[in-house]
């Protein structure tokens, strides 16, 4: 596919990753931190930004590793382990860099970075990138779009939860129960986007 086609596809993939194929609301990836951290807008913001950052870069790096190293060697079934190692290593390095060079940034993001290593959304994005056979440019757009979609979802969830009055919710539903219902309603809303693309 020539470059112009690729950019066009990249744009479509990016937008669809935010709305019609949202990581959390359509593919259920990254639910654990989504339900756990979304109580406060501030921490959700930090986690969301970290996710966008990590996702974009790791999808790009993993694309290179998969297509330039694993496939030529015929070791494509090792991708699970290698992707996880790449993600863990990237997060570790970034954490060290941020801590050294920008204490303010570390204040916001730092504590969330280890949480991201086990976030299924990151590994999921890399695996989808392999299954759908995206080119490099499209993969980067996909990583960025997925991260952005995750960010929007968790910010919306946090905004809603912060305004919920806990006294009015039945006890059995407090915590994960009501979060899941909110997630369901949001997912329903996002389904409405499917006609757009």
């Amino acid at each position: 596919m020539d470059i112009q086609n690729q950019f066009w596809q990249a744009l479509i993939v990016c937008i669809s990753a935010i709305f019609t194929q949202n990581m959390v609301l359509s593919y259920f990836l990254g639910l654990c931190p989504f339900l756990g951290v979304s109580r406060e807008v501030k921490s959700s913001f930090g986690l969301g930004i970290a996710v966008i950052f990590v996702m974009t870069f790791t999808v790009a790096i993993n694309w290179l590793v998969y297509h330039k190293i694993l496939i030529p060697l015929g070791l494509h079934f090792f991708r699970f382990i290698i992707f996880i190692i790449v993600i863990a290593a990237f997060v570790q390095i970034i954490e060290m860099l941020i801590e050294r060079f920008s204490p303010t940034l570390y204040q916001i993001l730092g504590v969330f970075l280890p949480l991201i290593t086990v976030n299924c959304a990151i590994l999921g994005a890399c695996l989808f990138m392999v299954i759908r056979d995206y080119s490099f440019i499209v993969s980067v757009a996909y990583g960025f779009g997925s991260g952005l979609g995750w960010f929007i979802a968790i910010m919306a969830m946090a905004g809603i939860r912060q305004r919920l009055d806990a006294k009015k919710i039945p006890q059995g539903l407090q915590g994960p129960g009501i979060s899941l219902i909110i997630a369901g309603i949001m997912a329903l809303a996002f389904v409405g986007f499917t006609g757009v693309l």
Binding site: F77, F78, I131, R132, D133, T194
Partner: protein, 199 residues
């Protein structure tokens, strides 16, 4: 000093573990490699035979598929696409492209007159079960039998309730994305094929 107290012990430990794990994985992969390739060939073979009614029988076993495919189906490679055809010049054209969730791969059969469709089959798809995935079901695929390509070599997908001519197929309600994409995939593949065989 016990071996566990050595500073280099963690590194050795990980290396040994990785070695054992890799050996097991590579062993399993090699052991099943033949099986995987065979499965793929049979899936494609079955899909091809399904759209060529003169050699298709219901409920063929894998061995029968293998035999019929090797004996009765010829292969031609034009511009890196494999086309399959029988002695009577009925073609099985590969249709491949992006579905809504994942790639859709299959074959569409066209008879010697280069206009009448003899059938459609899929060997790879991952659309929404109950919606897009209905393209695999018999009642959707049966629609294609006997339909004809329009003057510009196309098939049109129409919504439920609209009148269908012999160039039209009824799309799946609620699976707009899959239907739209499938329409594109089919028409593009047919366009390529018409271009390739005219040379």
């Amino acid at each position: 000093m016990k071996i566990i107290d050595l500073k280099i012990y963690p590194v050795i430990y990980i290396f040994i573990l990785m070695f054992i794990a890799s050996s097991i994985i590579i062993g399993a992969a090699k052991f099943t490699e033949k099986n995987v390739k065979m499965n793929e060939k049979i899936a494609i073979g079955k899909s091809v035979i399904q759209v060529l009614p003169e050699i298709y029988k219901k409920n063929m076993t894998n061995a029968e598929i293998h035999k019929v495919f090797n004996e009765k189906v010829k292969k031609a490679n034009i511009h890196n696409t494999y086309y399959y055809f029988t002695e009577n010049q009925s073609y099985a054209i590969p249709i491949e492209g992006k579905g809504f969730w994942a790639p859709i791969k299959g074959f569409i059969g066209i008879e010697q007159d280069k206009k009448t469709i003899s059938g459609i089959s899929f060997y790879e798809q991952n659309e929404t079960p109950g919606l897009g995935a209905e393209i695999m079901k018999e009642n959707f695929r049966r629609q294609f039998n006997g339909k004809k390509l329009s003057a510009d070599g196309k098939i049109n997908f129409k919504r439920k309730g609209e009148k269908l001519s012999e160039h039209d197929i009824e799309a799946i309600t609620g699976a707009t994305q899959t239907s739209t994409r499938l329409e594109k995939i089919i028409n593009n593949s047919i366009k390529e094929w018409l271009k390739n065989i005219s040379n």
